[in-house]
Amino acid sequence: MTTTTAGPQAASRRPDATAATPRRVPDQRGHGRQASLFLAPFMILYLLFIIGPTIYMVVMSFFDTSLVKSGLGGFAGFGNYAEALSSSDFWSSMWHTVWFTILTTPPLVVLAFVFALLADRVRRGRWFFRLAFFLPYILPSAVVALIWVWLYTPALGLLTKIVTTLGFAEPNWLGSPNLAMWSLAITTVWWTLGFNFVLYLAGLQDIPRELYEAASMDGAGPVQQISRITVPMLGRTTTLVVVLQVIASLKVFDQMYIMTSGGPNYSTRSLLEYVYDIGFTDFRTGYAAAASTLFFILVLAVSAVWIFLTRRQEQQGA
């Protein structure tokens, strides 16, 4: 069982390499009927609840569909898209989402990398670091929000207290439009850092120890070893971490919804919360579908960049 992770990883490069040429197949006619039975449970749910809604969303985005009326409503052509693209609210929530991504991604990548690097050098008590950094990641967002709203509470919160004890003015963590996004970013870094930490830790363990030994024979100190061996060897992991992080940050909703409701004065409303507001508060599902479609295109674009980068890394590696 020690090879559990190695097996699929080796196969991942060319997923169909082994399956393409079965050596002994008793049934030469193929297994169409049986295969469709095996596929059916997944495929039915997949078509009904993923593919179907995706098509429905695109169709709906061309209509003035309402949440509280049945049917698609009047045909709107590209009206919903035109409205979204000329709406300052759409663009400001897009900017908030991007701003949140900018604020969270660098610390989440860099800190996770540094912590993993440090943890890799510590031989005992690794479980403790895994616990400390990874435990927050498995907490529900609602729990994280409750904890941090309490930490940020004016006058009474622990963080407020620490800052004022250090002699600074009391920050209005969640109440000031300039500071609220930073506060949400701090919470998010605390919450999700553990995931990247674990990915990096695994990446570090895949680096052959002989490389370090050879380097230290050549007289390279720990710092040179890190810059010459560790950082380049973790290139693939970093690409993965960054892309997963960017996509996760673009999909941000929970923290804003619970901790600030998108406020103060809409300064933390994310794109997904905008879709929620127009679709479910204003009942304008047609327009919300158009905004969702634009959002979908953005996520697809980021994924495409990832595929492109991975391809290039593979080619360079080969």
């Binding site: 449970p41 907490l139 120890r209 579908a289």
Partner: protein, 294 residues
């Protein structure tokens, strides 16, 4: 994993013999590393410690921002259990998360088995069609899915939470990768002996896939438990809500209730923390092996 962990002390041993001077520098460096890391780990634990600290205070005492607890009490927990919908929320979370996990494992592994072990027309097409699903974040589908479940008259039922979470394309992909890596000799021998595909799947492939089954099951359970946006939309009645939705929606009583709030946060997280402590290695290996992310 154990194999890799074992190599670490062995390799340092060689270093120690060959280069004594560098060794002492490395040792010092490692000490500094450990110190810095411990400091950060402790910082990371402060919010959790503070949560527990607050929950054990009486409500009135929470306005003193100190770690000292003058009158430790479990009153906040007992009052939560006696009032409010927290039991209903627990039930909803357990039922929806367990159903989602079981159904995801079954449907995804069945589909992956056929893609890995059977030959049929359009196999590649089907595989790519499933791969498309990885690119579709569920969050962008909230609007059409809500209209759909409204039409199906399933809003405010657990099925509205469970059904859209089952078809997880990434799970199919992970199972297929794993099945492809398994030796075929065993199941082909079984097929020669006359065992059908279903028997091969259930008796041979699935037992060999215990690690990936448990990884997918645990992850699906945890994601489903932590999901906020979709259950928030479809479970709008407080009695039917899952734990995160309930915590995010229903306002408590009035006045200073920070201890109660923190107690509810602890109760909301407790089942997952227990799962984490039990399956820590599985979860971590699962992430490392697949790069899963919610």
């Amino acid at each position: 994993m154990t194999a890799i962990a074992d190599t670490a002390p062995a390799s340092t041993a060689t270093t120690r013999v060959t280069q004594a001077t560098i060794d002492s520098r490395v040792k010092l460096f490692n000490r500094v590393c450990a110190g810095v890391l411990i400091a950060f780990a402790l910082i990371w634990l402060v919010p959790i410690a503070w949560t527990i600290d607050t929950a054990l205070k009486p409500n009135a005492e929470t306005t003193n921002t100190t770690w000292a607890i003058h009158h430790p009490t479990l009153a906040s927990f007992t009052s939560l259990f006696s009032q409010g919908d927290i039991w209903n929320w627990y039930a909803a979370s357990f039922i929806t998360s367990a159903l989602t996990a079981v159904c995801t494992v079954l449907t995804a592994s069945l589909a992956a088995f056929s893609l890995s072990r059977m030959r049929f027309r359009f196999r590649y097409l089907v595989f790519w069609f499933v791969l498309i699903g990885i690119m579709i974040p569920q969050q962008v589908l909230i609007v059409p899915q809500f209209k759909e479940f409204g039409g199906l008259h399933l809003l405010n039922t657990y099925w509205a939470v469970v059904l859209p979470q089952i078809p997880t394309a990434i799970a199919v992909f992970i199972f297929k990768q794993f099945f492809d890596g398994l030796p075929r000799d065993l199941d082909e021998a079984a097929r020669v002996d006359g065992a059908g595909f279903l028997r091969t799947y259930w008796r041979i492939v699935m037992p060999l896939s215990r690690p990936v089954v448990s990884a997918v099951a645990i992850f699906t359970f945890v994601w489903s438990w932590n999901n906020l946006l979709w259950p928030l939309l479809v479970l709008s009645n407080p009695k039917l809500m899952t734990i995160p939705v309930g915590l995010a929606t229903v306002q408590g009583s009035y006045g200073i209730r920070y201890a109660d709030t923190m107690a509810s946060a602890i109760l909301g997280a407790l089942p997952l923390v227990i799962i984490f402590l039990f399956f820590q290695r599985r979860i971590v290996e699962g992430i490392a092996g697949t790069g899963l992310k919610g």
